[in-house]
Each structure stands twice: as structure tokens, then as C-alpha cells.
Symmetry: C2
Subunit: 159 residues, 2 copies
Amino acid sequence: MRWEELQEETCSVARTLSVIGDRWTLLILRDAFLRVRRFEDFQKKLGISRHRLSERLKKLVAQGVLKKVEYQSSPPRYEYRLTEKGLDLYPIIMMMVRWGDKWMDDGNGAPMVYKHQGCGEYFVPEISCSECHEPLKPREVMPEFGPGTLAARRRKKNG
Amino acid sequence: MRWEELQEETCSVARTLSVIGDRWTLLILRDAFLRVRRFEDFQKKLGISRHRLSERLKKLVAQGVLKKVEYQSSPPRYEYRLTEKGLDLYPIIMMMVRWGDKWMDDGNGAPMVYKHQGCGEYFVPEISCSECHEPLKPREVMPEFGPGTLAARRRKKNG
DNA sequence: ATAGTAAGTTCCACAATGGAACGCACAAGG
DNA sequence: CCTTGTGCGTTCCATTGTGGAACTTACTAT
């Protein structure tokens, strides 16, 4: 399977990976959430090659995760900002932070801590059910084939 | 920055990516959550090369995300099962599913749907604050440097 | 004997990547 | 105007990573 094929899989994990599933993209987005916006700043902070950075940013813009916004006109210069689609990656990143904090601690404690302005407390993100709002446990979740899979099967059967 | 260096970054996103941040690992783990356990089954389902699969499984076992469990003794054969550390990746994967369902729909609807056995309803995973249990929004979260970052700075300063 | 099964390993052509150097359009300073 | 600096890329090439097919090992089943 190649990169381009990932997007066509009938699987939302695969489709999401087709956007963010490489070494650099999530690090770029992490910095974007920390308000980094310009090419030079990304490059310096990340230590990614300019070549790769240029390509990834272009891809993220094409996919609607980032958008280019002009911040000066002569010469024209653009900065990269998260779109709504990009901002909506926040839960994925926060869950990665949670996992890293818990399982990849080097003995010095969490690199960052997070305060919730709603309640004023330091917190850890939790995952819950949209219907009953209870915390979700893997073993309490029953996956079933959805309409996307059924449609894909019909297409396959009917050629 | 190389793969091995990622793990040493003072950033939980980077550290998490050092484990799951390549094209294949999350697809392997997705299947592991769907109860795929054997080398041949992973290989057939994923279409990954045996070479790559062997290497990724080995890495995941080394990192404690999967464990090898003997299921027959002659000849000895092992299957790969999620450890507690691996099971705890569930929220990341579910949040990727949620994002893919929302933003990467091909017009046919979700590939899979999920029913919560706690309440019996089809649901979407939500992210909430561990303290007040309200849904989390990016703009309501204040990141601060944590003990890990402060320790890293001291180490740097003191040589 | 022969074929089949499960879990890898070896090998090689081809694709992806990192890093350094270069290009371009303009601004600011002398 | 000539030089230097800045921001954002692109080009080039040696090194690294990857896919795919064939091979290996150790058994079981016919």
C-alpha cells in the first residue's frame, strides 16, 4: 500500500493517517497549536529540512488543515494558520500528550502541564461517550460496520 | 532530527511519535484492537511487506506496546497481544477515527460505528477535563512548562 | 516422500529524506 | 546604486528507508 492509497481505504484511521501519518506532520501541527506560523520559525524550531517542510506545509494547505494568510504585501509573505479542520485535530494531539506523559516519562515529570480555564484546575484529558458522558473503556465499545463499509461492499459486488 | 532523537525530546508528542509515528504502526495497532494477533494475519490484512511487518512488531514488543504470547509449542509459535501500555493507545485511535469520520468522509458515511455498552447508544468519542468533566476546547486550555521542561533546562545550564 | 503452514530473513531495485547550496524579491543602510 | 539582510522557497546529491519476491526453518498432515 502506498501513501495515496491510504486515503481510499474504507477506514477512518487510514484516512486520518493519510493526512497526519508521517514523522513530521504532527510536530508541525504541535507547533502550529503553540502559535508558530512562519516558515522560518517552523524550520528553526523543528530542525526539519527546508525541502521537507515546504512539501509538508503545501500538503497540509492542499488538505485544508492549514491556510495561508498574507501578513505583508511587498514582498508578499504568508503565514500558515490552522483552519477549523486543523483545530479539530486538537483531541488527537492532546491524547498523544496524555499517553506520552504517562508512558514515556524519562523520570523528570511532564514536559508541559495544562490548566483548564473553565474550572481553573490542572487536568488530564479524558475520553467520554457523547451520549451518556461516562469515561470510555475499550472493552465497553462494540464496533459495527457502518454505512461507509456497506456502500463499499455494494460497489465491489456490482463491479 | 532522526527517529532515535525523537524519543529524547522534552515533548510528549515527540516521544509518542517515536513509538507510533510512522506509516504502518497505527494500522498494525488498529488491527490489534480488532483482535488480529498473528504475523500472517497482519500481513494479509495490511498488505505490508513481511520485512517491514517483522521490524515494526519487533519494535513494538521492545517498547512494551505488544507482547509475544506462545499459542503452540511445537513448533513454537507466538501471537502479538496488546499490553496495558498498548491498550492505553485506544483514546488516540478513537480520536483519529472521530476526525476521519468528520473530515475525510467520501460521501458514504462512517466506515464503522460504535455502540457504548454502558448506555446502549451509538456514540462519538468526546474529550473532557479530568477535573470538571466539561468538554475541552483548545482555546480554554493554558499550557505551561512542566517539571520535565524545567529539569531539562537545569541539565542544559549545568552542562 | 510430498505438500502445507507459520513466522520470519535475505536481497535488490527504487523511493524518500537530510543537508547544504542556491535563487528571488524586496528593504534598509551607506 | 551597491551591498547586506530577510523570508521563503527550490535544486541537487549522497544516504537511508521501503516494497516485493524468493528463500529458510521447523514442524504437521496425508
